[in-house]
């Protein structure tokens, strides 16, 4: 064809190139399906665990006695286990199963290293197991979706980047298909960006380890795991939600889009509706998503410009997201009749529809006016569950039902059972989401309602809680249905597995290796005549050969993705860290005392941030209920920040001095006796477990290392002595108020926690200390130099 374009010519060369090599000898290879089977099993098993823990904590919210006063079963400790299990164990293993299956086939190559595949699998399961042990023990960083402590963080970095990333990149490099299919781009973005997010959000001082090395004193295994982030307050909040939002983007969205672009065409037996749209979808998402994080912090102490930037980019995100959804659904063009009888397509259609709903709702919730109503309410929880149960869950089940019978080399045990799973799951999900949407909006409206005299219509927070209990029961039913569906899937896969052949048949594939000197893309030639140099350069650029070259070079492609996300991250984060005026400090705000610091760490360990915020927004109804709105300078010693993201209980930012020590003591013992109708769990162990006084010096020293001006309290034993004195004082006051004898309470954890709660939000109204105040965060950081 004399008039064919360069690219058409190139493609033909590719084909003839392979044909040529086939005469000279092809390379043979066998796909590693065993690793896919392993990740597939892990997905469904961990999924059931995640859903079961979800049901348990859902029951606890409707019926708090279901915690039985056992510390390992308390809501604050189990909720992080539920979220981590759902995200990293269920969705994570699903992503790995899908990636290992599709990457080998799209690359026409076995995974780069079987050893790395196995290290990845077992390493990841060990990390999940570590989470399942440490979180109920109260070992946590206290940052949502980044709760796991530093030794596990290090393990994640090695398993994710070295074992998984190295293995994946190695496979791309030794592939036998020249073009990288768009699903592989989404996987590349996932690996690159999750690495960046994980590393930057987990920069900490391992307080226990430093204490052990410095003093030779072992202050217990829990303290050995303790760390403090290098960021504090507002900066920590921005970093955390830059991470938190993009973890949703690059752990729960981009890899699943990759799976969608691979498995939906496979299941529908037709190519994706528009490959061009998928390319635009990819780059738009990668570029825009990274900017959107600050929308989680509207009306907080974060500067206004940062949240506006987050909002604008969140709204922009709607367009590529819906482009992707439409692309997914239209892939089924001409195959809609099959949706009626094929449960796999049913799962995919509903999964992609939920992607569309979630990505419409996300931008909606990022709009400040909407966010003022939705934030801290159950609306956010409904939004998250429509994403995880609908999008991630149903895409996973669709993928597993398609993949597992092929991996077991037999037919699915029961299509009818799979269809039943689909309907049970759908009904459960709809029940859950509708109930919690209603609960969230009810909650938000009740918080802000006032009467004709300008007073809050529901001044007692408990009123806004008891109103929601019926919805919480509906959620339990919805969750149980979804869990039942997953158990049916496990049974179906188990029975399918039992029907496997005695030995799995291995198919040997043959393909030509890629030529090292590929010349399929000769440099573009200018089509212009009599133009200046830049005209020719421009014409070559416009021919688009550069993008097609990118698409064949995985290492460079990864670097370009890194550049795309770095631009957004740097523009968003750097001013926050470098402009002093963004965090105006307050002279009267002083560091926590050693005992308060220990109490704060108990607050974190118990996961109090899962139910209580510490951030009063500048709204009439919030200041009326909780007190003066929160200022950025109030949080400069908060490592980690504890603003929270929901209010199952009231905000605690100005809790200090509001109630007596005795009220708090009795409240921890039995909340419902003090506040009838309260759904807070009982904390009897706080009344009996001793404060770890030897560890207090280590806590103070670690904070001092991070720039907190602790002065003489860093001297050997000074912090511990100070803490014991303050504990005795509070215990004596508690006794005076009618509480137990101070001999029984002075060394108990509840005293440290009361010390912390009584301090919250009080510095704002104190006199600045007589000594020269620390006036900027920078000076604070140099105060101990």
């Amino acid at each position: 064809m004399p008039n064919q374009t360069h690219s058409e010519h190139n493609w033909r060369i590719t084909v003839s190139d392979q044909a040529q090599v086939s005469r000279d000898g092809l390379e043979s290879f066998v796909y590693d399906d065993k690793i896919v089977r392993m990740f597939g099993w892990a997905t469904i098993i961990w999924g059931i665990v995640a859903f079961l823990v979800g049901v348990i904590i859902a029951i606890q919210m409707a019926f708090p006695a279901a915690g039985f006063g056992i510390e390992f079963l308390s809501f604050g400790r189990l909720r992080p286990l539920h979220t981590n299990a759902a995200i990293f164990a269920f969705a994570g293993n699903a992503v790995f199963a899908g990636i290992y299956y599709s990457t080998q086939r799209l690359c026409k190559a076995r995974m780069f290293s079987d050893l790395l595949s196995r290290l990845h699998f077992w390493g990841w399961q060990l990390i999940i197991l570590s989470a399942a042990i440490t979180l109920p023990l109260g070992i946590t960083q206290g940052k949502e979706y980044a709760e796991l402590e530093w030794p596990i963080d290090l393990a994640i970095a090695v398993v994710w980047l070295v074992f998984f990333g190295g293995n994946f990149l190695g496979t791309l490099i030794k592939r036998r298909e020249r073009h990288l299919y768009v699903a592989l781009w989404f996987y590349i973005a996932t690996i690159v960006v999750v690495t960046v997010l994980h590393v930057f959000n987990n920069i900490w001082i391992p307080a226990g380890l430093v204490h052990l090395i410095k003093t030779g004193e072992f202050a217990g295994p829990t303290f050995l795991m303790k760390s403090y982030p290098v960021y504090a307050g507002v900066q920590d909040a921005l970093m955390q939600w830059w991470y938190g939002h993009n973890a949703v983007a690059f752990f729960l969205t981009t890899p699943f889009l990759g799976l969608m672009y691979y498995f939906m065409p496979k299941a529908a037996e037709r190519p994706v509706f528009s490959y061009k749209l998928s390319i635009i979808h990819f780059w738009s998402l990668v570029f825009i998503y990274i900017w959107a994080g600050p929308h989680h912090l509207h009306y907080t102490a974060l500067p206004e410009w940062a949240t506006t930037l987050g909002m604008v980019f969140s709204v922009m995100l709607w367009m590529p997201s819906w482009g992707g959804m439409i692309n997914g659904l239209l892939t089924l063009r001409g195959a809609w009749d099959r949706v009626a009888r094929d449960p796999i397509l049913k799962f995919f259609v509903v999964g992609v529809t939920f992607y569309g709903m979630s990505t419409f709702e996300g931008p909606l919730l990022s709009i400040k006016a909407v966010n003022s109503l939705s934030h801290y309410t159950d609306w956010t929880i409904a939004h998250v569950h429509s994403g995880v149960l609908g999008w991630n869950g149903f895409m996973t089940f669709g993928m597993l039902y398609w993949m597992m019978p092929r991996l077991f080399q037999t037919k699915l045990y029961s299509t009818k059972l799979a269809t039943t799973h689909f309907w049970i799951g759908t009904i459960g999900m709809v029940l859950y989401i509708l109930a919690i949407y209603t609960a969230g909006i009810t909650q938000g409206l009740m918080w802000r309602a006032w009467d004709e005299t300008g007073r809050l219509a529901y001044p007692d927070f408990i009123e806004t809680v008891t109103k929601l209990i019926p919805f919480y029961w509906i959620r339990v039913v919805g969750g149980l249905l979804y869990l039942t569906g997953a158990i049916l899937a496990l049974y179906n896969f188990y029975m399918t597995w039992r029907n496997r052949p005695e030995r799995y048949e291995e198919t040997v594939h043959y393909a030509a290796p890629l030529s090292a000197n590929y010349d399929g893309d000769p440099p573009a030639k200018s089509r212009l005549t009599a133009n200046a140099g830049f005209g020719h350069a421009g014409d070559k650029f416009l021919q688009g050969n550069w993008h097609r070259k990118w698409e064949r070079r995985p290492v460079r492609f990864s670097i370009y993705v890194l550049v795309a996300v770095s631009i957004g991250s740097l523009i968003e984060l750097l001013p926050m860290f470098l402009v002093s005026s963004n965090v105006p400090t307050i002279a009267s705000v002083q560091p926590y005392t050693p005992l308060e610091l220990a109490g704060r760490d108990i607050y974190i360990a118990e996961g109090c941030y899962n139910c209580h915020s510490q951030m009063i927004r500048p709204f009439y109804w919030e200041t009326k209920r909780y007190g003066d709105y929160s200022k950025p300078g109030e949080f400069i010693y908060d490592r980690p920040f504890q603003w929270g993201s929901r209010r199952i209980g009231p905000d605690l930012a100005r809790e200090g001095g509001r109630k007596s020590h005795l009220w708090h003591y009795e409240h921890f013992k039995s909340p419902a006796d003090v506040s009838p109708g309260s759904i807070m769990p009982r904390y009897p162990w706080l009344l009996s477990k001793p404060i770890n006084f030897p560890a207090i010096q280590g806590r103070v020293d670690a904070n001092a290392m991070l720039g907190v001006p602790y002065g003489d309290l860093v001297l050997d034993g000074a912090a511990e002595e100070h803490a014991q004195f303050q504990a005795a004082t509070i215990a004596a006051e508690l006794e005076e108020q009618g509480g137990p004898s101070m001999d029984q309470t002075a060394d108990k954890q509840v005293i440290a926690l009361i010390a912390y709660l009584q301090r919250l939000g009080t510095d704002l109204y104190k006199e600045a200390p007589a000594t020269k105040p620390v006036t900027t965060q920078e000076e604070a950081s140099h105060a101990t130099d």
């Binding site: 190139n10 086939s22 298909e177 390319i279 780059w283 291995e506 688009g544 993008h547 523009i571 920078e778």
Partner: protein, 70 residues
């Protein structure tokens, strides 16, 4: 002079606009690149998931050494 001082004295009012412009430029370039990709190449790329076993020779074996169940 520290980096903090330099950034503190910068006028950041236009910062979000710079971000937006950067995105729009990148977006326009990508869209242009995509639109210029020849149809035959796009079709080849779009069909890759359906060609796991096409364009390569395969043979099924139930080899005596086989593979253990996993």
């Amino acid at each position: 002079m520290r980096l903090t001082d330099i950034v503190s004295n910068m006028d950041l009012d236009t910062y979000p606009i710079i971000g937006l412009v950067l995105f729009l430029v990148a977006f326009a370039i990508i869209v242009w690149g995509v639109l210029k990709t020849p149809k035959s190449m796009i079709q080849h790329q779009a069909h890759l998931p359906l060609e796991d076993d096409f364009g390569i020779q395969t043979e099924s074996t139930n080899k005596s050494k086989g593979v253990s169940h996993g």
